[in-house]
Symmetry: C2
Subunit: 308 residues, 2 copies
């Protein structure tokens, strides 16, 4: 099986890293899985879960002899980590990452990479609001897209091998240039997170409405936003710091549109409101048809009493 690697080194073993470890084990995509993690607690949990063969403090120890190295840490750590591991990277290794910003990954990791490795940034568009090695699961990538953004110098063979690796974990693979990736993800992921974090913050700051009221009546819509607003704050801080231009561009458009809606409300322009509210159902239908969302009403949430 050409996709099989000898030693997979995961730099970081949170939700994504640990999901890769589980899936790789399930599909036997590597002979050996090791990780590097900053805290002894994380290393202990990863070992206890049995998802890695060894867990190292020093990322150099993890990548030694690895033919596949995956950065699974917040983007802000990339540059230092890349510089650290560069001297010990094995001849012919594939180096990739799973970060949500690809232009920044190219800039942070690229310059440190020796010519004897293939560096191909990547981004599996999958996740949950949970963090840490215990939160991962093998099926996380199944049916989800993984975007690879090869840079100048990435070999075709390495790109094929990495694509096959993601496909073997159940992903659909797309090739894109890093700049376009960052624009697409700004609207499909980064702005939604920013808005979700923002409204949860706004609600928390109100004087006239208590927090207990926000919680009690959250079924009116608010609770849908709290899921992604519960995502890892360090990771998301780094996303916004590293995709600044695309995020500000998309945020500008969002705010313009919101101002138009605000104006329609102030002027009691029901026709404009109805027109805007009518066009959005089709998009949800298409997302469901594309297998990226559940068709069940209310996300399939169970409706039952507290004591059921």
């Amino acid at each position: 099986m050409t996709v099989k690697f000898k030693r997979l080194a995961l730099i970081g073993i949170g939700l994504i890293g640990s999901s890769i470890a589980r899936s790789v084990r399930q599909h036997e995509l590597a002979e050996e899985i090791v990780c590097a993690a900053r805290t002894s607690d994380t290393r202990r949990v990863a070992l206890e879960l049995g998802i890695v063969d060894e867990a190292f403090d020093d990322p150099k120890d993890a990548v030694k002899g690895a033919d596949l190295v995956i950065f699974c840490t917040p983007i802000g750590t990339y540059s230092t980590l890349a510089e650290t591991i560069a001297p010990v990277l094995a001849e012919g290794a594939i180096v990739t990452d799973v970060g949500s910003v690809k232009g920044a990954a190219v800039k942070a990791i690229g310059p440190h990479m020796p010519s004897h490795v293939d560096f191909i940034p990547g981004h599996p568009v999958a996740g949950t609001e949970k963090s840490g090695p215990a939160a991962g699961f093998a099926e996380l990538f199944v049916g989800r897209w993984c975007i690879l953004t090869p840079v100048e110098g990435s070999s075709k063979a390495a790109l094929k091998r990495l694509s096959d690796f993601w496909a073997a974990m159940g992903s659909k693979v797309e090739i894109m240039d890093p700049e376009h990736h960052d624009l697409v993800l700004a609207i499909t992921s980064h702005i939604p997170h920013l808005i979700a974090y923002n409204i949860v913050g706004t609600a928390d700051d109100l004087e006239d409405v208590t927090q207990s009221e926000v919680i009690k009546y959250s079924a009116g819509g608010f609770r849908d936003f709290t899921r992604i607003a519960a995502s890892d704050p360090t990771m998301w801080r780094d996303v916004f710091l590293h995709n600044k231009d695309a995020v500000l561009e998309m945020l500008g458009r969002f705010s313009e549109d919101l101002t138009a809606l605000q104006r329609a409300i102030r002027r009691e322009d029901g026709e404009t409101l109805f027109k805007i509210f009518s066009r959005t159902r089709a998009i949800r239908r298409e997302i469901i048809d594309a297998g990226q969302e559940t068709p069940e009403p209310d996300f399939g949430r169970v409706h039952k009493s507290d004591d059921d």
Copy 2:
């Protein structure tokens, strides 16, 4: 059983009306259930589903002899409907509604009500993104809050009876004044819907990112917003037209906060971003603890391939 009504008249039989019909039947809360619906198609479906005993074109025919009348139509229809049914309302009937704005319900229905009925506006904070009589289900209100906003002149006995009615359908009941209700719901429901409709619209309008890309990569967060943005456009147009002041007030706060986040991104102020992103997890935890949300990651969505 004191809660049992003789004849329940539902004015409108969409998601909420048909869910009430199903729950009332299941819990035997009325001897007879009838509805009024504008289109013959809706009346036919309601009858075929067996959730009402009779379906009328003219709301006057539905409310005749009813001891419980519930408005389940968009708020914009209230005033005309109230004027229409007022002359035939039975002595001692309880008249209520399920609309998301209560100040407007008081203004639209109240003045038409004869002194021999008890008018008590209500709002079950429950729903899904689906519309129409086929979309309802009996468990919709279980574990969810129903807010009643009695007005001057509502009798205590009627309030007690209506509270018991909602409790019998599985709801927790809260009493509130209409103005406070409208402020609370502006932040927990109306603004979330407005923002969701808005971002789906923004994404649909982009030139640099195709709609197919938005759909493919929606698992990055965007898809969470599309659920509530698929809600009934007429109902939501009316909500915004009738809760204008509270919505504009809350929208102003939301926009201020968003501008602060935008500024933090532009200045690369990671500390501020981290602080805002850190406070939101606790709120989700509390919503889950309060039984208003599922604790399962990713809303419990199933992760499987298209062909599973």
